[in-house]
Each structure stands twice: as C-alpha cells, then as structure tokens.
Symmetry: C2
C-alpha cells in the first residue's frame, strides 16, 4: 500500500533555474529519488565561446549537489574568476560569467555533445558524478532557443538576461526551433507509464522558464494526461519577483504584476496554485479562474523554508485526492 | 647602411617550447621586432576536451609577454587550477595541465578556428593582445600531429609527453598529416624576399620540436636558400637535456647523448653549432662534421643568461660574414 501511496503523490516538477531549483532542493529533502522528476527548461541554453551552456540544468545540478553559491543562487561556491580575467586580457567576450570551476561542466558537456551523446544522458551522468540521485530531464534533446522580442529588436535570451541586464523592454517571446523539437523521450515514457501522477510548476518565470517546456510539441498534452492534479507556485509575491525579470516583463506586457495573472497565465492547465500569505486577498479572484488556492509562506530563504514550501506543495497535491 | 646591416643579421628562429622560448626571450631584449621571426613547431598541437591546444606557441607567447611561470617554463604565472579539480570531480580527463587563466587562450583560439580563421592570424592577434610586437609564425596552418613510436605502440605526442611522462621507450617519430601540410605562406614569402637572412635553431628537442618544422614540405628547401648562415644551439649539455626527453630519446635511439650527435643530426643543414663550455672537448670532432663551433655558456637560468646566449648567437651568425 505504501508504494501505491507514494506513486499517488509522485510528481513531475517543471523548473527553470534559481527559484525552481530552491523548491527542488526542498523536495529532495522530503522525497525519495523515485518520487519526483524535474523537467528542466533548456530554452536558456546557448553557445558561447564555442561552449554549450545550459544555465537552468547547471543550477539544478549544483543546487541538488549542495555545490551552488547560495548567495548568487547560481554557479559554484568558492568560485574563482581567473579565466574571465585572462579572456578579457586577450580581447575575448567576457560578459557572461563563467567561473573557473564552472567551466568544467561546460567543456565536458560540449565535448560529449560533439561526440554525439544526448543532453539527457550527459545530464544524468553529471548528476551521478556529483552524487545526486534525483533525476533532472532536459525538456528536449533538440536545440531550442528562447528569443526575447524587445523594443530594441530580438535578443537571444542570455544576451537579454545577462549582457543587457534585462534592460530592453519586452514585447513577446518565441522559442526558436520549438516546432521541430521533440520532447525528451524519457519524459513521455514516464508520463505514459503514469510514473509521476501529478505536475508541479516551480516558482520560475512563466514566460521564459515554464512556457518553453509547455511549448515543446506534445509535451503539454502528455502533462494534461496525468491522473493527479497540476499545481503551480506563484513566482510573484506581493507584486514582485524574488529574482529575475518576471515582474518587469509582466509590467512591460501590460499584465498586472500579481499572482492572479500567474493563475490566468496557466489557466486551463493548472488545478491549483500556491500563493504567498501577502497575496491572500487575491484568493477569491484566483479561485474564479478555476484554480484552487493554497496560501502559505512561499519565500525561500533558508533550507527550512525550501523544505517547508516543498511540504506544502506535496500536501496541496495530496489534498486533491481522487477528485480529478 | 644601418638598415642593410640589420637585415644582414636578421634571423628566422626555429623553436619548440620552453628551451627555445628562453632564447627567443633573450633575442627580444637585443633585437627589434623586424630583426627576427620565430617559426614555431605545431607538431605538439592537439585537441583535448574539444579544445585546440598549441603548447609551443603558447609558451612562446607567454614567455615573450613576461606572463610565463618561470619555474615551470610553461603556463601562466600566478595560475590557479580550479577548473582541473572541478573536471576531475565530474569524471573528466584531467591528465593534461590546463590552468584557469590559461584556458582563455585555448577557448578563444578554438572558437576562432571553428569560425574559419587560421592559426597564423589568431597567433598574431594573441601576441598583439598581450603587448608583444615580435612575430611568431606557426610552421603551418595545416594540422600536423607528432606521433611517438614507442615499444608500447604509437602515442600522440602529449599522451607520450604529459600523460605517460615520457616513460615509454622511443623507437621513431612521424608527423601525421605532414605530407599534405603546406608551410605557413608568410614564412615562405619572407624567405623569398630575403627578409631574414640567417637561420637559428633554438636549443629545442631535435626530434619532436625542430624535425617537424624541417619536415613541412618545401620549408627546409626555403630555409636552405637563405643567404646567411644556419646555426644551431645544442640542447644537449654535458650529456643531459636541460628540460624534456631529448637525452632519454637519444639514449633509446642508440645515439650518443652529446652535442656531436646534435651536429650530426643537423648535418648538411647547419653551418655552425653553439655548444656549452662543458662540451668544448667535442669541438674538433664536431668541426669534422662540417659545422663551425662556438663554445660558450648555453645554460639559461637568468634573463642575463638568455640575453647573453642570444648575443653569442647573433655574434656567431655575424662571424660568418660573406663566406657563404
């Protein structure tokens, strides 16, 4: 019976980088490796200096391995930056932060991709190599590139995000290559086998972290076929995003910067949404969108916060019972 | 008249890595950028972790820019090694020493080669970027790979040299790709224009540093057409090599480990050889090979030593006058 119960609350977590990784870390302290799988955004991935860089996957790996620099939320702790200094000296492009230790993952992955291995296999091996038993599946092994359409013209995501520090005003997004992308076959296989019965959207940027995942052909449909509930955690808390440009983007897109807009964004896909206590007054309006609401603390500063929110997520998912 | 005189003593220096770079540094303290050109061995170059690495060119660049780690003779001073530690953690190949700062040159060069630029152009830009006005010309822009035939089988040079620490016993060498290699067109152009009237073989390994250069089709012939003398500095001093496996190789090849063997190795190509004071008793025998001999201190520990040997080389070259 225990196994059935576990399977009942098993979950596919859709995640981008820093915010999502925090919740995923919380989940890893509550659940066994078989209990959840992370479906990671790869729209942020890009080639830089000839290296294939997968920022969200790396943040997930480093976070799960307790190697992440907690203050920044990305990259490795105790990092050094001598490569970048040296690159600058010889006139190279130094706007993207590549730490000395961090380079290993980029160089090794680039080498293996060039040898014909898939991002999925490489990601699995990287997780194993740093002692992580949890599963992170790239949304696709195809190349998909998030393009931010701005008033200054189209920008590849990392150029918008890092080089231009999110300053250009956003009009829309598109995911280059998405039409031809095939979902990671492991994800589809697991969803078909009902290996993970529910879906949890981490508090990641809806436009550039979650939408790319949901835009991979057939993937959304597969996620809509799970037996259990689909719930999201709002990345907007009291009108702000904890990290990243989500709030700024919503503002520029003319969408009210609040959890209601997040619920509307995922309308028709989610059965429930977790919002912060500061936003509890929005509950009724959000429920009118068709999503059940759980109000709790969603700010994840300490590890305790992360585990606590993860626990709330799992309880919320469990609360739907057989009603779907 | 000064210009004519300068041109008369201008020199093409054939060089490998550490030992050659020391003499080249000495020359740079004596001569103007137009007075000499370094023709660098690229047989040691290889692809490692997807990166194109040119050890001899890098040693020359770092040495001329006063960035080299003087104790090691290669790589950058104040180097850190966090990339390698991190690479080891994720199970990557960590036998080749790639420092954090050093990585910049490999990544930037690999990127530019992939974009279709030549090694010659990239090398020139790298020298300029670190403030070096002297010229280092790769012997070829083609790919040539030195293979060491050992009793354990054939080994790519860096595998023999670094990974296996020169332990396997050497039988012969060959330079993969040499038949199809074309000499760096700038070298041929300059030799045709008599831009450099003499040739100086630096105290580099004759088998794996100088022979690859002399084996590039037509290059030796072009070097034989210069108006001035061709002289070598013996890398063997008192039966030993200052650095590297030259002495061990000679031993395994059944060649007496002394400066006479070096003179014999270059017989027919050189007009003179510079040997160390410790080897002065070999002078008569060496002169019997047809090469004039200059005896001087050839050990280059201090910068003063390097300049002093460079000065001896230029004086020796000048001493041939119009006799050729």
């Amino acid at each position: 019976m225990k196994k059935t119960l576990e399977k009942k609350s098993s979950v596919s977590v859709l995640s981008g980088g820093v915010g999502g990784a925090k919740l995923v870390l919380g989940l890893s302290h509550l659940l066994e490796p078989d209990d959840f799988v992370v479906i990671a955004n790869t729209g942020d991935d890009f080639r830089h200096l000839g290296l294939k860089i997968c920022p969200d996957i790396d943040t997930l790996i480093y976070t799960l391995a307790n190697l992440v620099d907690e203050e920044r939320g990305w990259g490795l702790k105790n990092e050094t930056w001598n490569f970048l200094k040296s690159l600058k000296r010889i006139g190279g492009e130094d706007w993207f932060n590549l730490g000395d230790s961090d380079l290993a993952i980029h160089i090794e992955r680039t080498r293996r991709l060039a040898a014909g291995e898939t991002l999925s296999v490489i990601t699995k091996d990287l997780l194993t190599s740093v002692g992580v038993k949890y599963t992170v599946l790239p949304m696709t092994d195809s190349t998909v590139s998030t393009i931010v359409e701005t008033l200054d013209g189209p920008l590849a995501f990392q150029h918008y995000f890092v080089r231009d520090r999110c300053l250009p005003s956003v009009r829309s997004f598109h995911f280059d290559g998405i039409e031809k992308a095939t979902p990671n076959p492991l994800i589809i296989k697991q969803l078909k086998n009902n290996a993970y019965s529910s879906v949890l959207i981490a508090p990641s940027n809806p436009f550039v972290s979650i939408d790319p995942i949901l835009s991979v052909p057939t993937l959304k449909k597969s996620l809509l076929s799970v037996k259990g509930p689909r719930v999201a955690v709002s990345p907007i808390i009291g009108g702000k995003a904890i990290k990243g440009p989500a709030a700024k983007m919503m503002n520029e897109l003319g969408v009210p910067v609040n959890a209601l807009s997040i619920a509307n964004h995922y309308r028709g896909f989610i059965d429930g949404i977790i919002i912060d206590e500061i936003d509890k007054d929005l509950s009724t309006e959000i429920e009118d969108t068709g999503a059940q609401v759980l109000v709790t603390n969603t700010v994840m500063n300490s590890l305790k916060d992360k585990i606590s929110l993860a626990n709330e997520c799992m309880k919320f998912i469990g609360s739907f019972g057989d009603q779907r």
